[in-house]
């Protein structure tokens, strides 16, 4: 399986490098998407741009191919390391392993950030070495980074961790069967998906009854003062840091724009309920928990 994965990642990495630049440029050229033959195609948001639904998947893939190698460095640089605290809070709020081993699926978790935290939390706090995480990502480059990182941990080559290349909107039922997971996590990924309802539907399908859906995602800041500061910072500093540290302004511009296009907390909570999940009340501390005033937010739902 590992050999297969390596082969797949290598194949994809070659193809993506050749097509990266034209694709990113395409994303910022409005004229190409407003031409007559495309009037009938369904569109979706790609940052602040509107693009055909079919195109978004590959464009997002290209963005993450582009940032994969510098992903963790850039996350640390742009958030001053705060993303680590958020991820810690996210995992510890789920308390994996507290009431016995869990079968978890971490979607969009290519670099293994969440998976590693889940396994460490279960091991360190509840002496649980049976909890297993299946990491799923559409992007082979990110999976490759995660696979590499896990080689330095005790989980490498154990049944506790596995990596799968798949689309969150259509997880192959042969591989990800119905009612099979206790915990579905998705961190800083769902806003990049073409259709959020499709992702939620798949999450509902693969979770066992009583299983928990947990999503960590950038969200809307409630405080107007903090919100304007945050806007200033993210639209000026993050693309600049992208240029300096990763040599790729466009990808980071997209990441910032996609955060602003993501639905606010109550609307996303409603989408989670529409997919069939039950949630708490529509307040901070109920259906969602705001982190740092809403810069990021943890949404949870239960398949009842």
């Amino acid at each position: 399986m590992q050999h297969n994965l390596c082969r797949q990642t290598l194949r994809l990495s070659f193809s993506s490098r050749s097509s990266l630049r034209p694709c990113i440029r395409l994303a910022h050229s409005d004229a190409q998407f407003t031409s007559a033959p495309q009037q009938q195609t369904r569109t979706t948001a790609f940052g602040f741009k509107t693009v055909p639904e079919d195109a978004k998947e590959s464009m997002v893939k290209e963005v993450f191919d582009s940032v994969a190698s510098n992903y963790d460095l850039m996350n640390d640089a742009t958030s001053f390391g705060v993303h680590r605290l958020w991820k810690d809070t996210f995992v510890s709020s789920l308390k994996p392993g507290r009431k016995g081993p869990l079968r978890c699926i971490d979607v969009g978790g290519g670099t293994g950030d969440i998976a590693l935290r889940i396994l460490d939390y279960a091991k360190d706090n509840h002496y649980d070495r049976e909890t297993a995480v299946e990491v799923v990502d559409i992007n082979a480059q990110m999976l490759k980074e995660g696979f590499k990182r896990f080689k330095s941990t005790m989980y490498h080559n154990t049944p506790q961790i596995s990596f799968h290349e798949a689309n969150a909107q259509s997880l192959p039922p042969s591989q990800f069967s119905d009612n099979s997971y206790d915990l579905y996590t998705i961190a800083f990924c769902i806003r990049n998906c073409t259709s959020i309802p499709e992702v939620l539907k798949e999450a509902h399908r693969v979770l066992k009854p009583g299983g928990t859906f947990a999503c960590l995602e950038f969200s809307q800041v409630g405080n107007p003062f903090l919100s304007s500061l945050y806007d200033q910072y993210s639209f000026t500093m993050i693309p600049l840091l992208g240029t300096i540290l990763a040599g790729d302004r466009d990808s980071y511009q997209y990441l910032v724009e996609s955060i602003r296009k993501f639905p606010p907390q109550p609307e996303f909570a409603r989408m989670i309920r529409d997919a069939g999940f039950s949630t708490g009340k529509d307040v901070d501390g109920g259906a969602w928990t705001d982190l740092w005033g809403g810069i990021a937010s943890i949404h949870t739902g239960v398949k009842v």
């Binding site: 709020s93 308390k95 009583g210 299983g211 501390g285 109920g286 239960v302």
Partner: protein, 215 residues
């Protein structure tokens, strides 16, 4: 909403499991046949639906208190002719099946979220005034202005004292409630007489001042 439904299903389980996360987790076992689960909800699911840690227990206690008010609303006062005293007796009777778990529940309600102040009396006061207000409303109390407040405040104080008494001595709680009503009505009449007397004195002084030509 499913969360509310599960809370309702968890209420009968309080008798056996107390105000615990376990009672909430087991609520899914009580769902009707096709939807009933075979296992209780996992810990993460209880946190996701009802709040993390003790917050989930507080959610259950709140639901139980709300159900207590709802049960009072079901009493048909016109048909049964129930008085305020009987309504408060009915509310005390609602406590009986879970009496053993109530001290801990009230202690949890009085525990502040952030650790300051060390004891938060607001939830207990809200609980008692909520019951007093509901009882007044159901019984058709028509008092106005200051009397509106004094009526509710005295009923809340009576109920709170009776409930505290019930926690330590359940059997004598109803007699204690009756004695409180009697002493409160004598207190009320004494207060009324004092106010009438002071009114009379004021009027007399006014008359004396007027007749002496000062005003």
């Amino acid at each position: 909403m499913q969360q509310t439904r599960l809370l309702k299903l968890a209420l009968p389980l309080v008798r056996t499991h107390g105000f615990t996360r376990e009672a909430l987790a087991r609520s899914v076992l009580q769902l009707p046949a096709p939807k009933a689960h075979t296992d209780p909800l996992p810990d993460a699911a209880v946190s996701a639906l009802f709040g993390s840690g003790d917050q989930a227990r507080k959610t259950l206690i709140d639901a139980w208190l709300t159900e207590g008010i709802r049960q009072l609303q079901l009493v048909d006062v016109k048909a049964s002719g129930a008085t305020v005293r009987e309504l408060l007796r009915a509310r005390l009777a609602y406590n009986e099946p879970v009496l053993g778990y109530l001290p801990e529940a009230f202690a949890l309600m009085a525990s502040p979220v952030s650790g300051s102040p060390p004891l938060d009396p607001m939830p207990a006061l809200k609980h008692a005034t909520g019951i007093a207000d509901e009882v007044c409303y159901i019984s058709g109390d028509a008092s106005l202005q200051l009397a509106w407040y004094t009526r509710r405040a005295s009923l809340a104080a009576i109920y709170m004292a009776a409930e505290l008494h019930q926690l330590s001595s359940p059997k004598t709680a109803y007699a204690f409630l009756d004695s409180l009503f009697e002493s409160s009505s004598s207190l009320e009449s004494t207060l009324g007489e004092v106010s009438l007397f002071s009114n009379y004195i004021t009027k007399s002084w006014k008359g004396i001042i007027k007749s002496s030509g000062i005003l």
